[in-house]
């Protein structure tokens, strides 16, 4: 049962990823991205990473995709293009992507996953304690990084606004 569910979620994710690859409508692509993310989130759940699954939904679906949709809307002249876009380098893209994929698959198949020693899987408590003890420095750095990115994004995007208002 879990296997069927796993494979169907994986299938959904891959299908919607392909949709992103081939669609000409940016907004449809953004919606397909949501579905892909949700599929991936399901994979997380199957891997017993519930906290990360929740984080994934909140950040990606609730934040990032919304941001992307805002970006799509801000960067399209309303009513003229209908969010249409095209693609280039199709052949090279296919070659590179297939090459990368076959190499990855080749590598994966060579790995002997049985040799990995099972040390027990992390629960959510372990995650919280780890963040406050051994991983506190990366945690704080991530906080500072977010702050810097916030300010940087505001500065980069907002600079011209003032000028246009002045005009």
């Amino acid at each position: 049962m879990t296997e069927i569910l796993f494979y169907s979620f994986a299938f959904i994710a891959i299908i919607s990823a392909f949709f992103i690859l081939f669609t000409n409508n940016v907004l449809h692509a953004a919606l397909a991205l949501i579905i892909t993310f949700l599929g991936v989130t399901a994979l997380y759940v199957f891997a017993h990473a519930e906290f990360l699954a929740v984080t994934q939904i909140m950040i990606y679906v609730g934040g990032i995709v919304v941001l992307i949709i805002f970006g799509v809307m801000l960067t399209n002249k309303a009513g003229t293009s209908h969010y249409k876009t095209g693609s280039t380098h199709r052949f090279m893209g296919a070659v590179v992507a297939i090459g990368a994929m076959s190499m990855l698959i080749y590598g994966i198949l060579k790995i002997n996953f049985k040799a990995i020693e099972r040390v027990g899987q992390g629960g959510i408590e372990e995650l919280g304690v780890g963040l406050m003890t051994g991983y506190v420095l990366p945690f704080e750095l991530a906080a500072i990084l977010l702050l810097v990115a916030l300010i940087g994004a505001a500065v980069i995007a907002g600079q011209d606004l003032k000028n246009t208002e002045n005009k």
Partner: protein
């Protein structure tokens, strides 16, 4: 061989004093050239003060050498290879007397110039150069070494150039200065050749050592051999003597180089008195007296004849001059001829004696003439008249206006002409007697032609009386030929009068000899050592005979010369007396007979030299210049063109091959660059493709 004779000699008080006396004029030069223009007057007073000190010192020196002692200080100057050059001071009786003469006359000229030059814009420069001149003149007198003498000799020539060209902004003065300088150079060529011969023969130029070395050398067959065994052809001995004499010919304005002296009258009158009467021109005579012991018979004869000829020629040229200073200039040439004749006939003592008496009375004449010129200048200035203040045609009747000047002029004239009771009589008598005795002695040896020398000498006595009588009559007697107001022509300041009177006193015979008719009684000649000449091959006995003959003939010669003087004065009174036709028509005098022209133009020497020497030289220079342009320049041009062509070829090679290689490298690098650039043309996705492909390739390679 002379090494033991060249040892350094210790310093004595006297030589030290002489050194101070030598340095004082140099100090004056430095002070006057360095002083601020505002203090020019003070600096000139200081210069006078230095000259007072210097003449006092020379008096002290004179007292110390009076009894015949000599002082000699010498040190090694520099060493070239094995041979050392020495430098030193040498003072003997004639030297000390000359130092005194130079400092004293220079002092008087300094004093005179403070008045005469006081309105001149070049006042400070003038005094500076006076100091420089006095310094270099003293250097000639004090040096013990021909090389050092030559250095100072040149310095004298140079400072006289500066002084003659004092008014260098006037073309004639500048020309005269150049002429004097160049003509002097011609003589100096001979001088330095003579020095070179001496050096080649004896390896030293120290005069005392040279005397020793000369007496130890000998004539062996056709060659002149020193004690060290260096042999030269005997002709070099004569050549050496004539070479040094040529230096004196230039400096002392002898035939054929006398042409510069009349032109040098363009300088300020005190300078004429200092340089062209008393000191610079006397340097040649003094030098010949110094080196007379190194001269052989042939050289001496040439000197005697040249001196006599110059005396005659100068006197002839003086007869018809109009410029008051030019008369004196030609007279100076004539008297210098006497002196060198004295050297040539083996009577250097008499020559020096004449040099002394001449220095004083000729300085007196020049300064008195300067006083006349100055007075006329002031007169012209006061009444806004324009006339040449030096031209005798504008003078006349100045006796009443300038009494002091007139008296001094008259005294000096009588001395110059050789009237008994005056200084010139004594010295001239000595020279005339010596010349007469010499030619007798030479004639007894078979050289009858030598009578020409006393003939020249006695003729010159008459001529001197004529031209000096003419000058005095034309300047001081009769009426003033310039039409102008009677007032305003007056004697110059007291300083000028004082100097004139001092010089006039020295022109009196009593100063030089207690017995004014017999030069043998003169203290001066007793001080003069008879030169112990020991040149190999010199017939010393001839000179001794000449001296003995001179003693015998002295009375006759004195009487003859008095008669000749009276003759000359009589002629000149007859011809130039105030109411005579010559004096009446003098102002507008223009036409000349041929003989007068010959005299006035100084024997046509200047045109002659121009035609014979200057013009050929100029055309030779022009030809050389043309040759240079036509051949050497052409060659250089061809070389240049060839170089340019070669350079073009090299340039082409450079462009085609060297640059080609470089250009190809650049081209190649450029193409590679373009190729590399084609991967980076801003398409970000292409970058990604390449990056991923490369990554895949790397991983494949690793695997």
């Amino acid at each position: 061989m002379a090494a033991d004779l060249l040892t350094p000699l210790p310093c004595s008080n006297i030589t030290l004093l002489a050194l101070i006396a030598l340095m004082l004029p140099l100090l004056s030069f430095l002070l006057n050239s360095g002083a601020v223009a505002r203090y020019a007057w003070q600096a000139s007073i200081a210069a006078c003060f230095f000259m007072v000190l210097s003449s006092l010192i020379s008096m002290i020196i004179l007292v110390h050498v009076w009894n015949g002692t000599t002082f000699h200080t010498r040190m090694t100057w520099f060493v070239l290879g094995e041979t050392g050059h020495t430098i030193g001071l040498f003072i003997d009786n004639p030297g000390a007397l000359m130092i005194f003469l130079v400092t004293f006359i220079s002092l008087l000229v300094h004093l005179y110039s403070t008045q005469y030059m006081k309105d001149d814009p070049g006042y400070q420069r003038y005094f500076a150069f006076l100091g420089l001149f006095t310094f270099s003149m003293m250097g000639i007198l004090l040096a013990d070494n021909l090389l050092v003498i030559f250095v100072f000799w040149e310095l004298v020539g140079f400072s006289s150039y500066l002084l003659i060209g004092h008014w260098y902004h006037q073309a004639p003065a500048a020309r005269a200065a150049k002429k004097a300088f160049i003509v002097n150079r011609i003589g100096d060529v001979g001088f330095i050749l003579g020095i070179a011969v001496l050096w080649a023969q004896f390896r030293t130029l120290d005069l005392e050592t040279l005397k020793e070395a000369m007496s130890s050398s000998s004539i062996q067959g056709e060659s002149w051999v020193t004690s060290a065994g260096i042999a030269l052809d005997t002709r070099w001995l004569t050549f050496m003597g004539l070479g040094i004499f040529m230096g004196a010919v230039g400096k002392s304005a002898q035939f054929p180089l006398q042409v510069w002296l009349p032109d040098a009258m363009e300088g300020p009158t005190p300078v004429s008195a200092l340089i062209h009467a008393a000191t610079m021109v006397a340097a040649g005579v003094f030098l010949m007296c110094r080196v007379v012991v190194l001269l052989d018979m042939d050289a001496l004869s040439v000197i005697a004849v040249t001196g006599g000829l110059t005396a005659f020629m100068g006197a002839i040229a003086a007869l018809t001059q109009h410029d008051i200073k030019k008369v004196l200039a030609y007279s100076t040439i004539s008297q210098l001829g006497y002196m060198l004749m004295g050297v040539g006939i083996g009577a250097p003592g008499a020559a020096l004696f004449h040099l002394f008496t001449h220095a004083f009375f000729k300085a007196a004449l020049f300064l008195a003439a300067g006083s006349v010129i100055y007075a006329l200048h002031q007169y012209a200035h006061r009444h806004q008249l324009a006339f040449d203040a030096q031209d005798m045609r504008n003078m006349g009747g100045l006796r009443a206006k300038l009494p002091v000047t007139f008296i001094v002029y008259l005294v000096a004239t009588l001395a110059l002409v050789g009237v008994p009771m005056f200084s010139g009589f004594l010295s001239k008598d000595a020279l005339l007697s010596a010349s007469f005795g010499w030619s007798e002695a030479m004639a007894s040896e078979g050289h009858r032609w030598t009578y020409i020398v006393p003939v020249f000498a006695f003729t010159t006595v008459v001529l001197t009386a004529i031209y000096m009588g003419r000058q005095v009559l034309l300047v001081f007697f009769g009426e003033l030929r310039i039409k102008g107001p009677a007032d305003g022509l007056k004697e110059s300041s007291h300083m000028i009068k004082f100097v004139l009177v001092v010089l006039g006193l020295f022109s009196l015979g009593i100063v030089w000899s207690l017995d004014p008719f017999d030069y043998h009684a003169s203290w001066f000649l007793t001080l003069m050592p008879i030169p112990a000449s020991s040149v190999p091959g010199l017939e010393v006995f001839v000179l001794d005979t000449a001296r003995a003959n001179a003693l015998d003939s002295h009375t006759v010669v004195g009487l003859i010369s008095i008669v000749l003087v009276l003759l000359g004065f009589g002629f000149s009174w007859f011809k130039y007396r105030p109411r005579a036709s010559y004096a009446l028509g003098y102002q507008g005098r223009a036409g000349f007979s041929f003989l007068e022209q010959l005299s006035f133009k100084n024997w046509y020497l200047d045109p002659l030299y121009r035609r014979l020497i200057v013009n050929p030289l100029m055309s030779f220079s022009r030809a050389a210049s043309r040759t240079e342009k036509a051949i050497i320049d052409k060659f250089i041009d061809v070389t240049g063109v060839g170089s340019v062509i070669f350079a073009h070829i090299v340039g082409w090679f450079d462009r085609a091959f060297v640059d080609g290689f470089v250009n190809f490298s650049v081209f190649f690098a450029g193409k590679v660059g373009v190729l590399a650039k084609s991967f980076q043309y801003g398409k970000i996705q292409n970058y990604i493709i390449l990056a991923v492909l490369s990554t895949i390739l790397i991983i494949l390679l690793i695997l």
